[in-house]
Symmetry: C2
Subunit: 338 residues, 2 copies
């Protein structure tokens, strides 16, 4: 049986309110008494009932985290940062895996509100729930921060990556290496791929490379199957291409698929084919050759969102915040000059 | 402002107890009234206060999950399974990242008890907290299931992988391919590596291959740096080895490190060097050649632990359970016969 505050009081031979004072550190208690209570707490393995305290204090010291899939290369690092940052501030986190499903997202947010969370962080929310006003409405009821996601004219708190600037860095790097024949590899519908494709189109136009424009859509772009899916499509594409070429892939999973296709087709990376990815997931640094990519600040994203949320809680949710993080080109071994 | 049950009652023009009946579905209510209440709930975005209900019902419908690191190839899949299985049974999960630290583990368990969780699942607990009796004591206070971890004569509930049998399958496979010169690659202290090393030693002895025994310890075995760490050590080792050889690595990160070393040294995998890993993390299926490995049932581990925990909660924690899951050899392209 779990020990109660009564058991601790009996063990330490003090009153229950003395135990409470020691636990909450809110009233002075004689050092000798304090030690006796602490020993009793230790001996009986007592933990105070945070639940009962929550009802009285009107805060639960809990935060809900929504994520499209915990089983992914990108999100675990974001969550690790959130968990750490919130823990050191006395909060526990509820983890909710929405399976990238808009209806599940709504259900989870409502369930979290029912659990009286002090705030919510939603990672990569579904575009439709941003556009239909669900998150704007929820943000009025509870402090809520969105990490990435659709944000044009949306009145929510955001921590965002500057993906457009990252895409431009990648393109500029390839151009500086002398590449003109630059192929763009993306997945099916996603706000993030659209941003990058816009940059690609603008960049090719600005540099008068329109005749080289080549956009390849590999379908499902963010699952474990993406690597093989990209490889299969790129094998066929590579048959008809004149090397040297450069390939800018919308994420590292696609970049890895391109790399594998090159291996099978006996193209040398980076001599024949230069490859640049996006995200800087750990795997891009674990293969041979290591993949040049654009760092998405996964840890910093989580940390910044947590800090923003804590500030919103502190300020009673009386402001709307937006923070855009810079991306950074990570040069490794998958690109070379012509 | 969040809507209260009072607001809903006013909106639907019914009493608060009628709203409560509709929400809890515990008393019959006229269909027409039910629809009116549901509309009001929808309109006001009302969520019932689960917290208050928890204090009355003596259960919180929350489960705590402890994990050495969420930012890892192995654990996210386990957690995904747990989250899903518990969600469909009406539970929310608290996620706790212990940073693989024994003191943090204890702190988290105490904090979870303070939050009155209905149960705890601990993934890969620290051996010292098993040996010093901490988990045995905690298991008496709250339903608790451990996934893997030290378990010799420990009176806790366990879901385990049969790692010994998996290691034997791997060794047998290499032997059947004609390999005698089999090198064992492990990391520094870990109960899991010890189990596999025992099997390796026994197997080499049984098959009179003692003169080929070669155990290489690559140090830190379970971090993102493991791949490069293993590669650096194996590059030097490969210089002095007569191919063809086979390498049995304790996990897929080490196996990948060996694969990269072979690439750099221009050894062909699998013709010169056969490599077999362990775990079947997704990355083993994403590189070229794809790595033959032993599947650890990551999803099934999480699912089984959740089901066991739910049963313990149902049965008031009146039993001690132990479940050992079979491992399975996954044959891909990194091993060949001599």
């Amino acid at each position: 049986m779990k020990a109660s505050i009564k058991d601790v009081a009996r063990e330490a031979n003090v009153s229950m309110s003395t135990v409470s004072r020691v636990m909450n550190k809110n009233y002075p208690v004689k050092e000798e008494t304090k030690i006796r209570v602490e020993k009793a707490v230790e001996k009986l393995n007592f933990s105070p009932n945070i639940l009962a305290r929550s009802l009285i204090c009107q805060n639960t010291k809990t935060i809900g985290i929504l994520v499209p899939s915990i089983d992914n290369f990108f999100f675990p690092t974001v969550i690790k940062a959130i968990e750490y940052e919130l823990k050191i501030n006395g909060y526990s986190i509820y983890l909710c895996d929405t399976g990238n499903n808009a209806t599940e997202e709504i259900k989870y947010v409502k369930s979290l509100m029912g659990r009286q969370v002090d705030g919510i962080i939603v990672i990569d929310p579904k575009t439709e729930n941003m556009k239909n006003g669900f998150y704007e409405a929820a943000s009025k009821d509870v402090p809520l921060v969105s990490i990435n996601g659709y944000n044009d004219n949306i009145n929510c708190n955001f921590v965002l990556n500057d993906e457009a600037s990252g895409a431009r860095q990648a393109m500029l790097y390839l151009l500086e290496l002398g590449h003109k024949n630059i192929i763009f590899v993306r997945g099916k519908e996603s706000y993030s791929y659209d941003i990058k494709e816009n940059v690609y189109n603008e960049f090719m136009e600005e540099n008068k490379l329109n005749y080289h424009k080549n956009i390849i859509n590999i379908g499902e772009g963010n699952s474990y199957e993406t690597v093989d899916g990209t490889m299969n499509i790129m094998r066929k594409e590579l048959e008809n291409l004149q090397t040297p070429i450069a390939i800018f892939a919308c994420n590292d999973l696609m970049a890895l698929g391109v790399l594998n296709a090159c291996k099978i087709m006996n193209f040398n990376v980076p001599k024949d084919v230069s490859i640049i990815g996006f995200d800087n997931i750990c795997i891009s640094n674990m293969v041979e050759p290591k993949i040049t990519t654009v760092d998405q600040n996964m840890y910093l994203l989580g940390e910044s969102a947590s800090k923003m949320l804590l500030q919103l809680i502190e300020n009673k949710n009386h402001e709307v915040c937006r923070l855009k993080l810079k991306t950074q080109l990570i040069i490794r071994n998958s690109c070379s000059n012509i």
